[in-house]
């Protein structure tokens, strides 16, 4: 239901009066229309790299917050990987106390502006929300993520720097400046340790900078978090590959670090292992997105030195957030046609519902229940087409999702000039190769004690995708926080 601003303001006024009088009933709360996210028009936004979703107005935020039933048992909190006191912050938004809302979130999450944008809320807090259950649709739950973003964005210009305890003289190395690393760095620095954050790239932020596009997560938001770390006294060293420039052993034995946190992500792209994957014009999503985001290849020819394929027809293979990011980036780089090829159905797609919605809105053509069998090239080894196979869904597999089964003889050709493979990543072996005593699983992820995130090597901790495989920003953050607490505790005893 579309409402005008004026209608919204009127409704809010009435509701706030009832709320104040204590007469607002659950039935009335259910009737408040869920607030749609304002966004750039899809035809306009595919011509720029600015954020697609522009954020709630204050009226919208308060209306949305009033939809919350204030359940005693707060099931939303149990759905959150870092247990943010969601109900309490939503109530604070409804009351117009945004400072209180933000400080409630910040008790458990340091990066609300990021998580409000990129968390898969429909599988977490909004999945367990009572309002969503009533409507049997997590997208009709209270829009917790949008509210989180709203309060975080209000704070973007604030200059609040967390207090740092007296110097302890203990040194902590944080490897990787992604979400887990940022949180671990902040938390260990708050305890007064001498913290150094190492980053392999020339810019900090990890996947939030090289992977997630500007139109979904503006770089300025990530930079602000890094700036806060600098103000707290965290030392930042870029262009430093731990395992190569120096090993973890050297950091511990020669450079005087007392503890190390490994938050390097799972950065090794999976390929499909089909014919033609090394042809010119076939990219991993990592490469495509890094060229476009980190290296700003969209400005090639007008400043940027890193080229990228100027594609007409593109197929992105995969159904996760990274696949949506790559497909939508290809559109913004001027592709006329972008296909998203996924071997299951939309229901099984791991991407956030909002990203799927945005991708479709922008004109990405979904090819579900299909998968490439081989990639075809011309005499110059440039891609000209993919041969796809059609699938149907069979019995559920280990992941609980119905297994896609190929339909024999269903091969067909899609003509195109670029293929982007976005079927996940596996852990980078760079660190484990240079530290044989570090115990890893058969998939290459680092084995940790889940209560402390400590690895098999004393004083070496790990978290995020290098421990859990491909997961989320919020999970990485949560593990960074657990590890930091354990590091602080262990160093306090020394």
């Amino acid at each position: 239901m579309k409402m005008t601003d004026k209608e919204r303001q009127e409704l809010l006024k009435q509701l706030l009066e009832k709320q104040k009088a204590g007469t607002l009933t659950p039935a009335e709360r259910y009737k408040i229309p869920p607030q749609d996210m304002p966004e750039q028009d899809s035809a306009v936004r595919i011509t720029n790299v600015n954020e697609a979703a522009t954020g709630y107005t204050e009226t919208q935020a308060r209306l949305e917050a009033l939809r919350c039933l204030r359940c005693k048992n707060a099931p939303c909190v149990k759905g959150c990987p870092v247990r943010i006191r969601i109900r309490d912050f939503v109530v604070a938004v409804a009351d117009g106390d945004y400072k209180e809302a933000l400080s409630t979130i910040k008790e458990n999450s340091l990066l609300p502006a990021v998580c409000g944008r990129v968390c898969p809320q429909e599988n977490q807090c909004q999945l367990t929300c009572t309002v969503g259950r009533k409507f049997k649709d997590p997208t009709k739950a209270v829009s917790i993520g949008r509210l989180e973003r709203f309060v975080a964005d209000l704070d973007q210009n604030a200059e609040s720097v967390p207090a740092v305890a007296a110097e302890t003289g203990k040194k902590v190395a944080i490897i990787g400046s992604g979400p887990g690393g940022i949180v671990a760095a902040a938390d260990t620095r708050r305890a007064g340790h001498d913290v150094t954050l190492f980053e392999a790239f020339h810019k900090t932020g990890g996947v939030m900078v090289y992977g997630i596009p500007e139109f979904r997560l503006p770089k300025a938001i990530v930079q602000k978090e890094i700036d806060t770390l600098t103000k707290m006294g965290v030392k930042i060293v870029c262009n430093f590959v731990v395992g190569k420039t120096r090993t973890i052993r050297q950091l511990l034995n020669e450079d005087g670090f007392d503890a190390v946190y490994i938050g390097v992500g799972a950065g090794l792209p999976n390929f499909m292992g089909i014919e033609g994957e090394s042809l010119v014009g076939v990219y991993s999503a990592n490469e495509y997105l890094t060229r476009a985001n980190l290296m700003k290849a969209y400005d090639y020819g007008t400043g940027a030195d890193t080229p990228i394929a100027r594609s007409k027809k593109v197929a992105v293979v995969g159904g996760g957030n990274v696949a949506m990011d790559a497909a939508r980036t290809a559109l913004r780089l001027g592709a006329e046609k972008v296909y998203l090829v996924y071997r299951r159905t939309e229901k099984e797609m791991p991407a956030r519902i909002e990203e799927v919605h945005h991708a479709k809105q922008e004109g990405i053509e979904f090819h579900i229940l299909q998968s490439p069998k081989r990639i075809i090239g011309d005499e110059n080894s440039s891609v000209t087409a993919i041969e796809c196979l059609k699938f149907e869904l069979g019995e559920p597999d280990d992941s609980g999702r119905r297994r896609p089964v190929p339909i024999e003889g269903s091969e067909f050709i899609i003509e195109l000039d670029t293929v982007i493979i976005a079927i996940g990543n596996k852990p980078n072996p760079l660190i484990s190769q240079t530290m044989p005593e570090l115990k890893i699983t058969k998939w290459g992820t680092i084995i940790v004690d889940e209560h402390t995130m400590e690895t098999s090597v004393p004083n070496v901790y790990a978290g995020g995708d290098i421990v859990s495989g491909s997961a989320t920003v919020i999970l990485a953050m949560g593990q960074g926080r657990i590890a930091a607490a354990a590091i602080n505790e262990s160093l306090a005893k020394k």
Binding site: R246, D255, K296
Partner: protein, 306 residues
């Protein structure tokens, strides 16, 4: 790299560095080796300590818009805290790099990346370098010599002007053969010609190394394969991160994808699909040519304005 980062490095590793005045990646010396080939010594103390033969760095010239390119570390001096890079002017970034002077700084250098060369006492080793490939070959030859191998070096270039490091190779090789395509220096031949002769000798070489343009490595491998001589090649593909993240450097090796940055840069040359690799190397050629032209015109205009 910003001053903040430099200060961070200095304070974290200050005690481990021999120099107290660590000032970013300053170029301490620069020399032009041939028409389009340059060499510099650059301050990079941590890399100079960690680096082993066969490894490379990735550099970029500014933080915002510059591209990242891999360059082999030709040599290093851990005492002085410097590394030596040698490059050929081919695209915009290498052209820009060639215009830097002593005292200038390179914004970003990361490394050492890739796996070190597998060094062993093989016996007789034939080392083939072509053009700019002589630069990465030299430290490997030095290390092989130190292991007690008998070294036969073949170094080639299109013409006399483009031949680099002849003196250095002469100093450490038990036998040195120089070739040029046009006969302007040494023997008029492609490097594969003397390579084949050496392979025919008895005893034949126990091991071969070939580093140079992809096409040269391909033909060298064709020769050594006939004689069943194991051959290491060092590949220089397009890369972004150099740590396994982007997969842009992948090659087809024994029918399987391999990443040059983390699985290489050295491979058994008999298993590399060179034809495909050459095509991937040319993926952006026309775009890059345009950018180079633009850069040249811009520099030209700057010079005229002076």
């Amino acid at each position: 790299m910003t001053n903040r980062h430099i200060n961070a490095i200095r304070s974290v590793f200050g005690l481990n560095l021999n120099k107290d005045t660590y000032m970013s990646h300053k170029i301490t010396s620069k020399k032009q080796l041939s028409a389009d080939v340059f060499t510099t010594e650059i301050e990079a103390p941590l890399i100079s300590q960690a680096r082993q033969p066969g490894q490379f760095v990735i550099i970029s010239l500014n933080n915002e818009y510059a591209e990242r390119i891999p360059l082999t570390i030709a040599d290093a001096d851990p005492e002085k805290g410097t590394i030596r890079l040698i490059w050929q002017r081919v695209g915009k970034t290498t052209a820009e790099l060639s215009d830097l002077k002593e005292g200038d700084e390179i914004a970003n250098i990361v490394g050492p990346l890739g796996n070190p060369t597998h060094l062993d006492k093989f016996g007789i080793v034939v080392c083939v370098g072509g053009g700019i490939g002589n630069a990465p070959l030299l430290p490997i030859v030095k290390a092989l010599k130190d292991k007690g191998n008998k070294i036969i070096s073949i170094i080639g270039a299109r013409n006399k002007e483009l031949l680099i490091l002849e003196e250095q190779f002469a100093g450490i090789s038990d036998e040195l053969i120089v070739t040029t395509d046009d006969g302007s220096h040494g023997r008029k031949a492609l490097v594969t010609e003397p390579l084949e002769e050496i392979c025919r000798r008895s005893p034949k070489p126990d091991q071969a190394f070939a580093i140079g343009p992809a096409i040269m490595m391909k033909f060298c491998c064709d020769v050594t394969k006939k004689f069943d001589i194991p051959t290491q090649v060092s590949l220089n593909t397009i890369m972004i991160d150099g740590t396994g993240m982007c997969g842009g450097c992948r090659i087809e090796y024994d029918g399987q994808p391999k990443f040059v940055c983390v699985d290489g840069p050295e491979f058994d040359g008999h298993k590399v699909n060179f034809d495909l690799m050459m095509k991937r190397l040319n993926a952006y050629k026309s775009q890059e040519q345009k950018e180079l032209e633009k850069y040249k015109q811009h520099q030209c205009k700057l010079d005229m304005d002076k």
